[in-house]
């Protein structure tokens, strides 16, 4: 027991001290933050003023084209040919040509509008122009039918459903599927990422020991199984540390970013007051939203969900971790790992894909079996939990996961024990089977 702690300690310390760990830990949240910020920045960079020339032969569009912050329109009444020549010499953004409606009907107009530009224009800009044209044509059509925009707006309906789940004993609780789905997707996704990221780390660690030939020295002091479990646990602790640091850093970074973006010193006094009110209002709104999410989350029983998450997180990792270790022990180089990785990655990827369909139908038989079978249950059961599956299913799934973990680590232990001392052998599934049978 003492020795396994020594191994865990070495695995942990040597990894946490690595430059790549530190870089990845810092870079992770920065990458996440930049992923979220880039669209915002892109948006603002696209906001330079553009001139749109409008050659309106129909006379219907004059004044009706919206001048936005980004777009300024300039109307021409000359013939298209003339305007085109002018446009060629100008630096205007686009030229929109609307043909005369005397020659064609208003419905035909929809397909007869040309946009000229110096270079290809983006989808967003195209959308902007077509929306403007559409709204003008729509109001003309409405007028022809004898309707006004107000009537249309008045007749619009917007429904939001309140789901209330009736318990067996007649209790009622409001259930929000959106939040539940979001939570369980996040949980399943975290487990999926964790298994892949740190399972691969276990595999590489085993391969390093094998190729550097230190393994024979170590297993003359400890049992191969101790070495394997020590590594798996050590790497898991590395993973927990990294995740914790990521969450912490993301929190710090995002709060820093928001405080920088909303720097009150940059606002002038009057704006400051308005701004403060605005922020207060927004804050109040956010609080309301947050409160409602929280009450909805309480209906899912947050602490139970968290406990279950931890169980499936650790259970799934341990089960797959030992298989990754076995693969590392069976091969001599990273390139040989592919053939053995397939049976490990397929159930993982499958369960992640299944998770999305299961969220739409959490009581289907696919959902049932996937949440019972230990190879898929860590990810899939996470997805089902918010939909209150029967207690016995949860219990069965948990027991089977524990059995599955014992089974895979037994198999992996047997492959590992023989594999780490085998060099230069082409290993197939047949040889693996021989190793498992070997006493």
């Amino acid at each position: 027991m003492n020795k396994i702690i020594l191994i865990i300690k070495r695995e942990y310390v040597s990894r946490v001290r690595k430059k790549s760990f530190i870089v990845l830990t810092i870079l992770g949240p920065v990458l996440m933050a930049s992923l979220m910020l880039t669209p915002l920045l892109m948006d603002s960079s696209d906001s330079e003023l553009r001139t749109v020339w409008l050659c309106d032969e129909s006379g219907l569009f004059e004044d009706k084209f919206n001048n936005t912050e980004a777009i300024r329109t300039k109307v021409f009444t000359e013939s298209v040919e003339q305007v085109k020549l002018l446009f060629n010499e100008s630096d205007a953004f686009t030229l929109v040509h609307i043909p005369d409606t005397i020659k064609i009907s208003i419905s035909d107009l929809e397909n007869k509008i040309n946009v000229y530009a110096h270079k290809p224009i983006s989808y967003a800009n195209k959308r902007l122009i077509s929306r403007n044209v559409e709204s003008v044509i729509e109001s003309i059509k409405l007028k022809n039918e004898g309707l006004t925009r107000e009537t249309i707006n008045k007749t619009r309906a917007s429904v939001s459903l309140n789901t209330i789940i009736l318990g067996n004993s007649g209790t009622e609780k409001s259930g929000s599927t959106e939040n539940a789905m979001g939570l369980s997707m996040a949980g399943g996704f975290l487990i999926y990422i964790f298994i892949f990221l740190y399972g691969a780390m276990v595999m590489r660690g085993v391969m390093e020991e094998k190729t550097s030939r230190i393994v024979e020295i170590i297993i003359s002091s400890v049992k191969p199984f101790q070495l394997m479990m020590g590594k798996i646990i050590g790497v898991a602790l590395v993973g927990f540390t990294q995740f914790a640091l990521w969450i912490l850093l993301t929190f710090v970074l995002s709060s820093l970013a928001t405080s920088y973006l909303m720097n009150p010193a940059e606002l002038n006094p009057t704006e400051l007051i308005d701004g403060a009110e605005l922020i207060l209002q927004e804050g109040a709104n956010e609080q309301n939203v947050l409160a409602s999410i929280l009450t909805e989350l309480q209906s899912i029983n947050l602490s139970f969900l968290l406990l279950m998450f931890l169980f499936y997180f650790v259970g799934g990792y341990l089960m797959y971790g030992s298989l990754f270790a076995a693969v590392g022990a069976a091969v001599d180089s990273e390139t040989d790992t592919q053939q053995f990785m397939i049976p490990i990655t397929i159930p993982l990827i499958f369960s992640f894909i299944a998770l999305q369909t299961i969220l739409e139908n959490p009581d289907s038989s696919l959902a049932f079996w996937c949440s019972i079978i230990p190879f898929t249950s860590p990810i899939v059961m996470m997805g089902r939990l918010p939909f209150d599956p029967p207690m016995w299913e949860i219990a069965l799934s948990m027991v089977l996961l524990i059995i599955g973990f014992i089974f895979t680590s037994w198999i992996a232990g047997r492959i590992y024990r023989v594999g780490i001392l085998m060099y230069g052998q082409k290993v197939s599934y047949k040889t693996l089977w021989k190793w498992i049978k070997q006493s």
């Binding site: 020795k3 020594l6 191994i7 070495r10 040597s14 690595k18 390093e208 020991e209 550097s212 030939r213 230190i214 024979e216 020295i217 170590i218 297993i219 003359s220 002091s221 400890v222 001392l421 060099y423 040889t431 021989k434 190793w435 049978k437 070997q438 006493s439």
Partner: protein, 302 residues
Amino acid sequence: MKVLEIQSVSKSYSNHLALDDVSLAVPEGKIFGLLGPNGAGKTSLIRIINQITMPDKGQVLFKGQKLNSEHISQIGYLPEERGLYKKMKVGEQALYLAQLKGLTEKEAKIALRKWFERFEITPWWNKKVEELSKGMAQKIQFITTVLHQPKLLIFDEPFSGFDPINASIIKDEILRLKNQGTSIIFSTHRMESVEELCDHIALIDQSKKILDGQLNEIREQYKQQIYQIDFASTELSFLNTLPEHLKLIKSSNNQAEIQIVDQSTASELIRFLLDQSDLKGFEEKIPTVNEIFIRTVKENLS
């Protein structure tokens, strides 16, 4: 007193028999040479002694007790295929390996400091292993093998990767350990170092033990009545017409090797030779371990 007794041990892997009913006894405080061609089963036997694998049949006794996990701390093993964690610092790594053998951190530090000073490598402590040369890394491995003062040491090709100077340092250390009472199993293909170091040898070939005993006795036993003779003159034409019971092995200048093929004695050979020429030297040729190795393995093959 035997430090290790191997009693009719057999071990088979999925596709072949690695050890077939092998029995050996390693005497205490001696150097025991474990010899054999490649793939004979030496490494399998060594792994069983280190409890890396278990024998299918038979048992191993350590100081009369059935081998168990408590003996791990009393055995030191330097495998032939050896390495260290490349990214780990020398000192930390040595400490780690020593602790795995059961030393406390404090004990390990004291012992390591002594060894590092002895080999004059104290400045390496904070270097990463990948910064060291192969020979330097081998030195570290030697230290980690002997650090916990095991009662039994197993060296598999301990001199590989060392230059002659460092090899002789390691050789002296092995002899010093022997003088301190450590029993040593020494496996190698370098027969001259077997002659130099071993008190006792065993030869394994094709999964079986084919030779076992004290080195000088075995060499005595393998004598073939070959004598090396130095003559006073280079005129040795009489060697071409030797009587039937004498066989010329080789001759050059004023030297010759002659084998007696019947029961006649060395004195009779001397008398015969004196009739032909003057002698400057006469010596019985004792076979080298190399010759014994090649002979027995070839005989075993046929």
